[in-house]
């Protein structure tokens, strides 16, 4: 409609008072033959790469549907989508920060089942088995996972060399390193949740996987054990005691005012010994290390240590960063699904994106030879290691339903401040989880392979 034109003439005319803007208002985006898609990116270059290699590339090959992408922010994309879905104004391709939100949409018939498409496009063969399982709600495919990652232990090799440390693998090694780092005046494990409150769940998730292990967590997630299981209460208490010693984030007060960039800066400067965080940082970590940051620091990662004799070292807690689904109101199903398939069906394209931007790839089967030569070796090592590993764990934001997930980090902050004893925290979480299990919105946890 006259949208663009009238707004421009309005600007040129300069008559921009109330009545005049009536003209600027009519029309709007999202009409026509476009498939609307909302996305968010960790940086501008990443956004440019994605637009060129995915959106534009797809639109060139497609004659049925054209994808029109509007860019939001990582921190508000999920909420904007939620509001739009509630108001019946969802974009054609519905974003979810993982399978947990997908279940809610599917249960309320806001998104479409993709079963037929899944078999046409052979998604079962393309996706890693655990990811395929996670994309199901009540045994039907509703979404496509387009990025996955894990939690790892980041460290600065120069710092480790200086103090003669090795990446820890066992509880003893981890505790020795922490004590040593503390006595040297370093923050043993960088941590903080200023700016993004849910960061708390990164650390707690990693800790539970290290100290409780995937097998037991699986039993909890499938309700054959409860969240106030002794092993979990012990793990939460252990983490609390380590925080009280100042091992995590340098003490409870500092914890609440430390941001993710603060920790990464500290890691580069050698003030922080280790950082347990997600592999999503692979894309943005270069800002803090080396040329871009004006220093000569470097980073590397190691698999997570074990914090219990019952858990094998090197667990990879799995996380789906993004799941995409189709809005129930969507009219151009074939074209929109073709775009979803375009995002995951070509390992070369996905790994090219990883090589160029560090962005996490979709959980698809890849061969070692698929990685482009310019792939960061650390990324390549990770995405070769995870599909081979049988020690796969669970992250809270991917495997917990919404209310339990919110409780998981909101209330743990009270454990950190000492206002809530670990045991009460766990029984509160158990209550919340039981309730949501009853509502049938718990994501479909994969069966652990580790023995």
């Amino acid at each position: 409609m006259s949208h663009q034109l009238s707004r421009r003439s309005l600007l040129h005319g300069g008559a921009v008072l109330a009545g005049a803007s009536l003209l600027g208002g009519c029309g709007g985006a999202g009409s026509g033959a476009d498939v609307s898609y909302w996305a968010a990116f960790p940086s501008k270059p990443t956004e440019k790469y994605f637009r060129e290699h995915y959106v534009d590339a797809f639109n060139k090959t497609s004659d049925s549907a054209q994808v029109s992408m509007s860019v939001k922010q990582l921190t508000n994309l999920a909420q904007l989508t939620d509001t739009a879905v509630s108001a019946g104004r969802a974009p054609d391709i519905v974003y979810s920060p993982g399978p947990s939100a997908v279940a809610g949409y599917a249960k309320s018939f806001k998104i479409r089942e993709l079963g037929d498409y899944a078999s046409d496009f052979k998604w079962k063969d393309a996706l890693l088995p655990w990811a395929y399982q996670l994309s199901q709600v009540d045994n039907k495919i509703f979404s496509v996972p387009t990025s996955y990652g894990s939690m790892v232990l980041y460290y600065n090799p120069a710092t480790f060399e200086k103090y003669g440390w090795e990446p820890p693998t066992t509880k003893q090694e981890f505790e020795d390193l922490c004590a040593d780092a503390k006595s040297e005046g370093l923050i043993p494990v960088g941590a903080g949740n200023s700016g993004y409150k849910a960061q708390t769940e990164w650390y707690l998730t990693a800790f539970l996987n290290m100290a409780v292990g995937p097998n037991r967590l699986y039993e909890v997630l499938t309700s054959s054990r409860d969240f106030d299981d002794e092993a979990i209460v012990d793990a939460v208490s252990l983490m609390k005691s380590q925080m009280d010693k100042g091992w995590w984030g340098g003490g409870t007060k500092d914890y609440f005012t430390t941001t993710d960039p603060d920790v990464l800066t500290g890691l580069a400067k050698g003030d922080v010994a280790m950082y347990i965080s997600g592999t999503w940082s692979f894309g943005s970590i270069a800002t803090f290390f080396g040329k871009d940051a004006g220093n000569d620091a470097d980073w590397d990662w190691a698999p997570l240590p074990s914090l219990s004799s019952d858990v094998d070292p090197g667990v990879f807690p799995l996380a789906i960063g993004t799941s995409l689904a189709l809005s129930a109101d969507e009219k151009k199903g074939d074209g929109a699904v073709a775009f979803l398939d375009f995002l995951i069906n070509d390992p070369g394209r996905a790994l090219g994106y990883l090589a160029a931007t560090g962005e996490n790839p979709p959980p698809i089967k890849v061969e070692s030879g698929d990685f482009p030569d310019d792939t960061d070796k650390r990324s390549e090592r990770l995405y070769n290691a995870i599909p081979k590993s049988t020690n796969l764990g669970y992250t809270s934001w991917t495997f917990l339903p919404p209310r339990s997930n919110s409780f998981f980090y909101e209330e743990f902050d009270k454990v950190i401040t000492g206002d809530l004893p670990p045991k009460e925290y766990c029984s509160g979480l158990a209550g919340q989880f039981t309730q949501e299990t009853g509502e049938g919105v718990v994501p479909n946890a994969f069966t652990p392979e580790a023995d």
Binding site: S21, S43, V71, T75, N76, L80, A87, D260, F288, G294
Partner: protein, 278 residues
């Protein structure tokens, strides 16, 4: 221009206090400008330090990466339409409340106060579906109407409070001479009320300028988004590049500062000049 004339210049105390207040207000502003020309690492290491090298590039990066040119033009449309509309709505409302025979003006006032107590977060979902039905979703006009509704109760009550302080005799004289209400309002009341109107325009315009929650919820077309959204586009994984935010923030302050300066003189006129004209 009244008080100081007859007093000797014993104003050291006054100036001392003013300087103290100015330091409180301006100190953090300096930190903002400083942050705009540093690297994120320098900000994290010491926010008060002078940068090793002035990063003027930050302004260019912020301008380009967040499409601030388009954003500021959109903001100009949104802010001027909001301020203009709010002023018209509020002037009419306040005048009716104070000078015209509205049944139960107290109840109207109470209504305006009570609707001001409603949290906007509550309205987002119903409003979004109504706006879709009315064809106002994803349009700047739709956003502007929301701003009119949000900012006009305050502006109305503010203007009302200024209007009460103006003696009604001037209008009574005009009315006896047979002038209609609209004429009385534009010729007599408006000039007296002008500082108040400017204040209401400034306040509603500024609120619209810095507002983003409603803007991002109701506008999806990135070409139509206001500049305030720029401050959210400097993501670095899960955190924000504060150097670029500071640069974009400084750029955003500038037009409003110029506008404020340009309006300065108008603030000064008011009771005195209008009174003399009579």
């Amino acid at each position: 221009m009244s008080a100081p004339r007859s007093r000797p210049a014993r104003n050291w105390g006054v100036y001392g206090l003013l300087l103290l207040l100015a330091a409180y207000a301006a100190g953090p502003m300096l930190v903002l400008l400083l942050s705009a020309v540093k690297t994120p690492a320098e900000i994290s290491a010491n926010p008060l330090s002078w940068p090793a090298e002035l990063q003027w590039d930050n302004f260019a990066t912020a301008w380009v990466d967040a499409s601030m040119g388009t954003g500021l033009l959109n903001s100009a449309v949104i802010v001027l339409s909001t301020a203009g509309g709010v002023c018209v709505i509020a002037c009419c409302g306040a005048y009716a409340l104070v000078r015209l025979d509205v049944p139960k003006p107290g109840v109207v006032m109470l209504y305006l106060l009570v609707v001001s107590t409603l949290p906007i977060q509550l309205s987002l979902v119903p409003l979004l579906s109504w706006w879709t039905t009315l064809g106002l979703y994803d349009t700047q006009f739709g956003l502007i109407v929301i701003y009119w509704a949000l900012y006009s109760p305050f502006a109305t009550l503010l203007l009302r409070s200024y209007l009460i302080a103006i003696p009604p005799e001037y209008e009574a004289a005009a009315r006896i001479d047979g002038a209609g209400e609209l004429r009385v309002f534009t010729r007599i009341v408006l000039p007296l009320l002008w500082p108040g109107v400017l204040t209401a325009a400034l306040v509603s315009g500024l609120q619209a300028y810095n507002e983003f929650i409603i803007a991002v919820t109701f506008i999806q077309d990135s070409e139509a988004l206001p500049a305030s959204i720029a401050l959210f586009s400097f993501q670095q994984g899960y955190a924000t590049n504060y150097a670029l935010v500071s640069a974009a923030g400084s750029i955003m302050v500038l037009p409003m500062l110029l506008l404020f300066l340009a309006l300065q003189r108008r603030f000064v006129s008011g009771y005195t000049s209008a009174g003399m004209a009579n």
